[in-house]
Symmetry: none
Subunit: 223 residues, 4 copies
Amino acid sequence: MPSYQPGSDTRNRLLVAAAEVFAEQGFRHARISDICQRAQANIAAVNYHFGDKESLYLAVVQKLDAESKADATYMQIDPNAPPEEKLQTFIREFLAILLKSGPSTWLGKLMAREMIEPTAALDYMIEKVIPPVDGAVRGIVGELLSLPPDAPLVQMCVSSILGQCMIYFDTKEIALRVTPGLINPDNSYPPAMIAFLAEHVTQFSLHGMQSMAVPAAAAQTGK
Amino acid sequence: MPSYQPGSDTRNRLLVAAAEVFAEQGFRHARISDICQRAQANIAAVNYHFGDKESLYLAVVQKLDAESKADATYMQIDPNAPPEEKLQTFIREFLAILLKSGPSTWLGKLMAREMIEPTAALDYMIEKVIPPVDGAVRGIVGELLSLPPDAPLVQMCVSSILGQCMIYFDTKEIALRVTPGLINPDNSYPPAMIAFLAEHVTQFSLHGMQSMAVPAAAAQTGK
Amino acid sequence: MPSYQPGSDTRNRLLVAAAEVFAEQGFRHARISDICQRAQANIAAVNYHFGDKESLYLAVVQKLDAESKADATYMQIDPNAPPEEKLQTFIREFLAILLKSGPSTWLGKLMAREMIEPTAALDYMIEKVIPPVDGAVRGIVGELLSLPPDAPLVQMCVSSILGQCMIYFDTKEIALRVTPGLINPDNSYPPAMIAFLAEHVTQFSLHGMQSMAVPAAAAQTGK
Amino acid sequence: MPSYQPGSDTRNRLLVAAAEVFAEQGFRHARISDICQRAQANIAAVNYHFGDKESLYLAVVQKLDAESKADATYMQIDPNAPPEEKLQTFIREFLAILLKSGPSTWLGKLMAREMIEPTAALDYMIEKVIPPVDGAVRGIVGELLSLPPDAPLVQMCVSSILGQCMIYFDTKEIALRVTPGLINPDNSYPPAMIAFLAEHVTQFSLHGMQSMAVPAAAAQTGK
DNA sequence: TATGAATGAGGGTTCATTCAT
DNA sequence: CATGAATGAACCCTCATTCAT
């Protein structure tokens, strides 16, 4: 009688294999026979442990989210640093997560698919995965613009920043074909490249926002 | 062995129906039976006219590309206008294409899917669809930064600009759930909203690039 | 281009095989693989011709009903005969249908199953299969009792008559075990036995109703 | 190898739950997982306690039979009462058992299924469940007709009587659809209705048999 | 030129049973 | 005495493709 019940070993193997396959193939294309094979489990194991394919998928998303939060450095930015530095740190960390390879990018891949072909998991993501990231950036941008985090202008600047980052993630497949030499064989960007892109996005964004802070500050101080 | 028959009515109906279904469901999820039904054609018509599913898909992509180019206004920007105005025009037109609904967005949807789940069509897109758009922006940005269009810095600024636009396209499903009132029932953004976003992206980008232009401008004007 | 379209040959073979298997095994236990095998058709033939298992089942019920009505002699009883003779004829014919073997009893078997484990087909049976039989008996009994066919007493007598017949159908399996010699190897009752049972049920019923007719007739005539 | 453990609490809960599920779903449709869940037992409990599904089923049938006999009032009819009264009592009690709801009807439901889809339990029923009922009616009818209980004519009259009763049990699902107001929501008939039906069946049967007693008696007495 | 019919591989899911503990 | 985990056979259904006409 085990006192420690993290679920059976098979269950965990299933979760790991499923994360991999779902990230590669998406929810619908993923075959549970494939998942079970990689997990060295019987074809009926998914049904036994999770009920059905979709419940397994949801469990995978939640597990990936939990793991992601466990090492999310963008939420541990020094609160006393100047906002410019905070932004730079965030962008660097965020890009690093997006442009690396391996398990840390699986959640991103699943999210990208949910955008195009939503499942029940999208609601979970909107509720649990996105807010921390979004909130972190809104805080920084709000500070930069001297505006509350939920101001519409802040929202738009956040979109501008995240959009600049995500495009490198979205166009990975293109980059792989157009400039294969610049990307590692495992589909990840070299750290130097990531740092370089982060620097660009940071400068672009800081200057992009600079002009916008003025009227707000003016309205505030000039009252 | 059927010879190429561009005038076949069934063939054209098939092409139209397939564009719709592929845009909605993506290549793999789209069902031939569904396409044939919408085209009021026999289930065997696809294989008869196009050989197989993938060839039909390729034909659809090419047709959509041709139609897209026929009314691509961002390629018809007044060459004598100041670059700031050119950029504003491009962003406005590009966002409009992305955020509208209907046939004009189908190619965009297919491209978004190709990024995540590439098929043979991605190569076509890289070769034929992307360069015109990319080239147009590079030209404008190059002008703004006083740099040749193929300069790395230009490339990165182009990415920053396109990324800011595409994020609104990518997050449509999220917006639909989070702020359903701001999006039309047909999944399109209201024109006023598009104009507003375009203005923001333009300002953000112009100021974002301003700082980067300085050294180039300095070198040029001798200040 | 055939002008006569009774459905494909495979479709008909499927219908025949399915009637057999459904009658033997019931809806749920019947395996479409079994049906297809007997019909010498592919496993996907059912889905192609009927959509799914339940639609095939419904088609079988309707076909069996149509065939049953085509040779339903109990509906072609001489209207000028005395009611006693009509009743005898009906009971003889009805028992014959129930106690024979082969396709004519399949509908009865399916109905017996629907009583215990209803499916969508039960509604069809209540609406289309039962009324003709029920109505025929109600007419005869009404005549015998000098009551309108929809009188409650008529209804109950009809139940008494049909119940007496149906019990021999329901207990076939028991009879097969208890008195195997009296039943043919193909699960049918010998014609002489059927005639004998019919005579008994007729006499039992006629006398059973005799007493009930008096007060009704008296109330009617003595008014 | 577990020895027979009639006192096992789990075993008894299993038996109770299984009776319920088997009555509802029949042998094949009943799911072991469902039974175990209702019995709050492990999924493997059935196989552990009873070996397999069919053995559990047999145990249920025997238990239900034992319970049924414990309160079978039709076997406790006053032997000195006139046969007409005995018949009335039997029919009333028999119909009551058939048309009520709850555990007392479970055995009837299982028997009805066995008629259509026999299992090993049918032999048990033929040997143990049916004879007491059958014998009771044969005794009464024999008395009424002045014939030995095993006379063929007695047998047929018994069938006529039981058939009249059982049809109301068999057509419950139809009655539920055609005249829903006349049946209680728990699928049982109102006591007044049962009494009414019993009275009808009794009168119908008594008169039905009256005529048959005469010739037999005449032949006997020499007229 | 075009089609209705038919096919077969493979998908997810169900469920009685078995096994190690 | 009892159980959680695991299994494999089988079921219904889907769908791109092929074939005969």
